[in-house]
């Protein structure tokens, strides 16, 4: 095998190409960079330009905060380090919510997708998954243009952060050390002051790459890890853990025999991620195909006979169960064929990403394994797969605002908090960015409740329960998933975002306009009522003997039955205006489908919101006698330091009576229920 780093350079070719493109923008960029000065006082410094960092700095800047993004390499800002796709189930939900808060990843994906597909179309719209295969280079280009050229208040600095400026050491009521973070220190010793710092260093904290028996310190192939920063965080007594993940080898596109593979087309029409877009950039017919092949049983012996040269698999570090390496699939589920999706990395890219083949065998064995798969017999391995191990901070160290509980003004977002996935990172990034800016601008913080969005579920799960494997979003994690749908993310979050200042007036107006149309539409659909037999007869569908009156709204409450508002309008002309706007028609239909179920959950939602409004003061002393906690409960509460009664009651092992005693310390009992 070649030396890894010379290999890495070779694989970075597309990246070089992009850097060349950027030469055209160089003057602008330089001017931008010139605006940075170490004497300048920033409201927010964001460390790391991945998906969490990009959203964080964009959000902080949108809020009007003076923001500085510090990255190791300007050309890797917005890099998709692993799979060439965005979205999916749960993840697509997160993206819609990030977009509803005026985030950037959804809009950028609408400009750089090469195959758009809504998953789960045959299941209910609450679990539809917006997903797109993305052209890596285009995505990065658009993100960089957005951040470097179209985002006021944002400066960019290429540098390496080694340390934090820490002041005012003291201790909290439970005797734990508490400090303030007032900026960062670069590797050349330069200090940059800021009100707040957001760290989004992904897998770079003490990052280490494993291929076969070889180990390299690195955050991503070809990139240095962050060791100084890891030491700083550890020295601040934060609880840290270690996780691992992996990425598959990359293949040369024109060396694959697609004729033996199944293929998958994009949707026609392709649906955009963003609420502000009516269409995506690409023509439906120009979308690329993905292909599907399956492993043969012969991979089993390759994997099982070579465990002794596969360091990553033997490591006692937890990896993601839902994105497992091919080795762990074989070891845990022997005797079957495993799906391998062959995904294009871009319109002009000659590289294929074999999704499902993440592995860490020595390179020559990876080649052997790949050649045993139908269609890949002659495939050229452009770059071997590898595993990454990295440090993360126990997310229970965080408040729901993503600020650390014991380091004031320091926020963390993304994989550093134990999550996996671009979308999970973006979701945290936007919240950390908004809150860091809010703090600097003396505005109240934003938190999203579990009842309001998947973002709320994600952050509540992390900060209350912690995680022992890379955390990924699933629809099943959201107990109110019938109301937290991709279609209504704007109605749930855009108003809240506008209020705090991270959403543009234009987007807000668009949301309000839709809100009014939806309300009027629902009222209209509820006002038209006819006997069931009548409806069905008029629409020429399977007759029914049911003579009961049914409102138009309830005639369409079964989505898959195929009755549309347009059909109803033929029978009840007053509904005709609702059928002009297809997006409105569709949204009304979804509202009808979920109304009954949502009403059933409303009581639970109300109760949870009430408990979420009961704030446990930060200075509560869990050792106090009158709390009468047993030692196990005390330890758990000290670890999590729940911010609200709702969070406290979600901690496993805390008895209802202890939660009840915590109520005594609640700051304020709400008099009146806030409007739902």
């Amino acid at each position: 095998m070649l030396n890894l780093f010379s290999n890495a350079k070779q694989f970075q070719k597309p990246v070089c190409h992009i850097t060349l493109c950027y030469k055209n923008n160089k003057i602008k960029l330089l001017r931008k960079l010139h605006s940075f000065s170490p004497d300048k006082k920033y409201n927010v410094v964001v460390v790391g330009g991945g998906h969490a960092g990009s959203e964080a700095c964009a959000a902080a800047a949108r809020m009007g905060a003076q923001t500085l993004l510090i990255t190791h390499k300007k050309e890797t800002v917005g890099e998709m380090s692993c799979n060439p796709s965005f979205g999916g189930i749960g993840k697509g939900h997160l993206m819609r919510e990030v977009d509803a808060l005026d985030g950037i990843c959804g809009r950028m994906c609408d400009l750089s997708g090469i195959q758009y597909k809504v998953l789960n179309k045959r299941k209910g719209p609450a679990v539809w998954g917006y997903r797109a295969q993305i052209d890596r280079d285009l995505y990065k280009k658009h993100i960089q243009e957005e951040l470097f050229e179209r985002t006021p208040n944002l400066d960019v600095l290429v540098a390496s952060v080694e340390d934090l400026i820490i002041k005012n050491p003291s201790s909290n009521s439970s005797g734990q050390p508490v400090v303030d973070c007032c900026g960062i220190v670069l590797n050349d010793g330069t200090q940059i002051n800021s009100d707040c710092v957001v760290i989004t260093t992904g897998t770079f904290l003490n990052g280490q790459i494993n291929i076969g028996t070889k180990v390299y310190p690195a955050g991503r192939i070809g990139d240095k890890p962050s060791i100084g920063l890891a030491q700083t965080l550890a020295s601040l007594n934060l609880r840290m853990g270690r996780l691992k993940t992996g990425t598959p080898p990359r293949l040369r596109a024109n060396t694959i025999n697609y004729s033996v593979c199944d293929f998958q087309k994009g949707d026609d029409p392709p649906l955009p991620f963003s609420f502000v877009n009516d269409a995506v950039w690409i023509k439906p017919e120009d979308q690329l195909l993905c292909y599907l092949t399956r492993t043969s049983l012969s991979i089993e012996s390759i994997i099982k006979n070579n465990l002794h040269v596969n360091r990553h698999v033997r490591e006692e570090v937890t990896g993601p169960r839902y994105c497992p390496s091919i080795e762990s699939k074989v070891l845990r589920f022997g005797g079957r064929q495993h799906q391998v999706w062959l995904e294009p990395e871009g319109l002009n890219s000659d590289i294929i990403y074999p999704n499902g083949l993440s592995c860490t065998l020595p390179e020559e064995l990876q080649v052997q394994l790949i050649h045993s798969i139908p269609g890949l017999e002659k495939a050229e391995v452009v770059r071997p797969g590898y595993g990454v191990e990295y440090d993360f901070v126990d997310p229970r160290e965080l408040q729901p605002t993503l600020q650390l509980k014991r380091i004031k003004n320091l926020f963390l977002a993304g994989q550093i908090n134990g999550t996996t996935g671009y979308e999970e990172a973006a979701a945290q990034g936007i919240i950390a960015g908004i809150n860091a800016a809010a703090f600097g601008l003396h505005k109240p913080a934003i938190t999203i409740s579990r009842t309001e969005g998947y973002i709320g579920v994600l952050i509540d799960d992390l900060t209350t329960l912690g995680t022992n494997e890379p955390y990924r979003m699933f629809t099943s994690r959201a107990e109110f998933r019938l109301t937290l749908r991709p279609d209504n993310a704007d109605q749930r979050l855009t108003g809240k975002g506008f209020e705090i200042g991270c959403v543009s007036k234009q987007r807000y107006d668009k949301m309000v306009d839709m809100k009014e149309k939806l309300e009027d539409g629902i009222a209209l659909l509820k006002s038209v009522s006819k006997p069931v037999t009548h409806w069905r007869k008029l629409m020429n569908i399977t007759p029914s003997k049911n003579a009961m009156q049914k409102r138009a709204f309830n005639v369409i409450d079964i989505y898959n039955e195929g009755i549309t508002i347009t059909m109803l309008a033929k029978v009840a002309p007053e509904l005709l205006p609702l059928s002009y706007d297809k997006s409105l028609e569709n949204r009304l239909h979804i509202e009808a489908m979920y109304e009954a179920a949502a009403a059933e959950q409303a009581e639970e939602v109300k109760e949870l919101r009430k408990e979420e409004s009961l704030v446990i003061p930060r200075d509560i002393d869990y050792n106090a006698d009158n709390l009468n906690l047993n030692s196990e409960e005390r330890e758990k509460l000290l670890t999590v330091q729940p911010q609200t009664i709702a969070a406290a009651s979600r901690i496993p092992g805390i008895s209802p009576s202890s939660v009840f005693r915590l109520l005594r310390f609640v700051k304020k009992v709400p008099q009146v229920e806030s409007a739902l």
Partner: protein, 436 residues
């Protein structure tokens, strides 16, 4: 619940008045006050005369609308009233929930809340011990079995939802999981049936005695009452005029329905009596149908599965007559008794056999006797039934999953767990090889 003079059931929450109004004939005014009303079960049968005290928010202990139902203290009556309220939309309060609501609505101070909390805690420990004792090992096994089946169906659905491109769950459609859900339904139903039978031994078998006039209903009743093994308790009225009586035998208790009706029909010789009896029989767990040896072999329509046919006055029959009668009513395999001679052992034996009572008494069978536990299980079953209805109505799989999840949560609570998400995820990753 122990037997006491008066039981008080307290309803608190926005819907308190709405729920109580479903069980009484004339709606309560939404104001503070006291009222006497008849309380009816969902089928419209009179359960009890109750004294209602109403509190309108915020002037109540919890600060919400509260209705206190003072009913007669019999375990059976209290239990049925509870069941009715639950069927009408109430749920059992969680431990300490009333105090919690009172605190949240600023009805009690911190110091008060502390005092109440100590009380709750003491009760909790007791309640925990009791419920731990109540739940036998076998019950656990059976409920765990249903739980793991329901978890498998949920895992299948959630895998299909969260991994739509995974081939193994490609064909998970509402129609295709229907059979799995029917199995679940039967599993839960089995536990409920067993529990009901067990509760027969504890709380009484609702029994109706029917038959044409003069066939010996009254004498059968008398011989039950005179049975030396039987302890008769009467809740109202005089001994001779039992409206609803419980007779406890060694392995079971018969709770006699409308025995007054029997006496009345015995006195007034009229056909009306039969119709009245039929009405009572509908609500019964057990029907003792006295056959008229001289009458027609064609009988009135009763649910045979819960009926024991009885021929009384066997002492009046010669051997030959008895043979003829046996032949005539062969298809009903009747029990012969002589109520007059207090010869009813064969009937007692038949009742024990029918309800498996001996076995239950001996074995550690799956049984829940606590009303709250049975309510949870019943709710789980109704959610599973709901899922089945929604499947036939064409609902999408994410909506169907919600009902299954609720059923799963109820079972989990019954078993004393509350962390469900990790458990389901663990199951998914154990069963399916997921991830691209």
């Amino acid at each position: 619940m122990a037997t006491q003079a008066i039981s008080i059931i307290r309803l608190s929450g926005e819907d308190s008045f709405k729920i109580i109004n479903r069980s009484i004939r004339k709606d309560l005014n939404h104001e503070n006050g006291t009222t006497l009303r008849n309380f009816y079960d969902p089928k419209g049968n009179l359960l009890d005369q109750v004294f209602l005290i109403t509190f309108v928010n915020p002037n109540s202990f919890t600060g919400e609308d509260v209705v206190e139902i003072n009913c007669h203290g019999g375990v059976l009556v209290t239990k049925r009233i509870l069941e009715t309220l639950i069927a009408n939309g109430a749920r059992m309060a969680e431990r300490g929930e009333f105090s919690k609501r009172a605190f949240l609505n600023q009805k009690i101070s911190l110091i008060q809340s502390q005092g109440i909390n100590d009380l709750i805690e003491a009760k909790n420990d007791l309640a925990l011990k009791i419920s731990a004792k109540n739940m036998s090992g076998k019950t656990n096994v059976l409920i765990n079995e249903v739980k793991s089946n329901i978890m498998d169906v949920i895992s299948k659905i959630q895998t299909a939802i969260d991994y739509p491109e995974y081939e193994e769950t490609d064909n998970v459609t509402p129609e295709n999981i229907k059979d799995d859900i029917v199995v679940l339904h039967n599993g839960i139903k089995k536990i409920i049936d067993l529990s009901k039978r067990a509760s027969f031994s504890k709380n009484g078998i609702k029994t109706a005695i029917i038959g044409v006039p003069n066939v010996g209903k009254s004498s059968l009743l008398n011989s039950f009452l005179n049975e030396d093994k039987a302890i008769v308790s009467n809740e109202q009225g005089t001994t001779r005029d039992i409206v609803e009586g419980e007779i406890a035998f060694s392995n079971f208790t018969l709770s006699l329905l409308d025995t007054a009706g029997i006496r009345k029909t015995e006195n007034k010789i009229e056909q009306l009596g039969i119709e009245k009896s039929l009405q009572v029989a509908k609500d019964a767990d057990l029907v003792l149908y006295l056959l008229d040896v001289k009458g027609d072999s064609k009988l009135i329509d009763v649910d045979k599965s819960k009926t024991i046919f009885v021929i009384n006055k066997v002492d009046e029959l010669s051997n030959e007559q008895r043979k003829n009668v046996e032949n005539k009513f062969k298809e009903y395999s009747p029990v012969f008794v002589s109520a007059l001679n207090s010869d009813i052992d064969s009937l007692i034996k038949r009742i024990e056999d029918k309800f498996n009572l001996n076995e239950i008494a001996k074995s550690d069978e799956a049984i829940l006797t606590n009303a709250d536990e049975i309510a949870k299980l019943t709710l789980a079953m109704s959610k599973v039934e709901n899922a089945l209805t929604n499947i036939s109505n064409g609902f999408s799989i994410d909506l169907i999953n919600i009902d299954l999840r609720t059923a799963f949560e109820e079972l989990n609570e019954l078993l004393g767990f509350n962390e469900i998400e990790d458990e389901i995820l663990d199951n998914i990753f154990k069963k399916y090889c997921l991830g691209k």
